[in-house]
Symmetry: C2
Subunit: 157 residues, 2 copies
DNA sequence: CCTAGAGTCTGTAGCGACTACAGGGTCAAG
DNA sequence: CTTGACCCTGTAGTCGCTACAGACTCTAGG
């Protein structure tokens, strides 16, 4: 049975939470983590509540919340002003972002695997991957610019 | 029929490529884009080859290549030292990264949507989303740290 | 008791990939 | 000749850390 009596150092907190020592100090500096009590020699002394909070932050980061979003969530946590609706909204928005990102990455995956598949590896001097990167897909970037360009060109002619 | 006679300004290149003016200058500074000829008044004068190259870079960025990776690809492009194998390797590695990212995001999506679904929105004072963030999943972070922590704790006892 | 090594402190600078000014010069239209 | 859009350089800011430098403190071994 391990007795964790009172406080522990930043190094222990770091190991316990898996968050880098420097990162913990950084979190303190930007107000994500509260300034803990200091020992006589100026060392930070943490308690279980800090570990709990830091775990919350780490978990939130893993789930892709920005530190700013976490700050908001922590306000809810701290102030018991549990405006559950806001939290829910943030979560749903975040979820939508994730789904969009997945969609984008899937499209990307398709393009990349096509590119890789076309490569014959050293058989021809031309590289289809390089070519694919150079290739202009019409309509991709010309949604708004083509017109402006045409105007410009005819004007400057 | 539009005649693009000779050179064009950074603004035109920006519109044409969809890359920010500042970003183009930044690319020049870090050696991704070559320094173009200057007009008498010091304005950058670009040519089609620049547009082509910038398009390449933009496309690569869209596909998630880092500027450093693109630098490598551009070396291949420039030096005709088309070591196709390297390009292919880079692409395959990149593809693997993308697939991993998709996997991670899917897991994330599941967790997030579970969290959102559990939320009863203002019915109870406890917020299941917040709770979920606080919740310690055993085994998630304790792969390497638990042992170390146990050692430390028993040592420092 | 002394010393070596590990841990901690503050503060600053760096990363990637930009973006946003500030404070100037230039150019074309009216 | 003025106005406004464009361009120039250079620097500082963004996000979320990470990596020092240079100093202090603590602990275990000899």
């Amino acid at each position: 049975m391990i007795k964790q009596i009172d406080g522990f150092s930043i190094g222990v907190l770091s190991e316990r939470s898996g968050v880098n020592v420097e990162t913990i100090r950084y979190y303190e500096k930007i107000g994500i983590m509260p300034s803990p009590v200091r020992s006589a020699s100026g060392y930070r002394v943490y308690r279980l509540e800090h570990a709990r909070r830091l775990h919350f932050v780490r978990r939130g980061r893993e789930l892709g919340f920005s530190l700013d979003e976490l700050r908001g969530l922590l306000l809810v946590v701290d102030g018991h002003t549990c405006s559950c609706r806001e939290v829910h909204e943030l979560t749903v928005q975040h979820l939508a972002d994730i789904r969009q990102k997945i969609k984008d990455l899937r499209r990307l995956e398709r393009v990349m695997s096509d590119m890789a598949a076309q490569c014959t590896r050293d058989l021809v001097p031309e590289c289809p991957i390089i070519d694919a990167l150079f290739e202009m897909r019409p309509g991709a970037y010309e949604t708004g610019y083509a017109r402006v360009r045409a105007e410009r060109s005819s004007k400057s002619k």
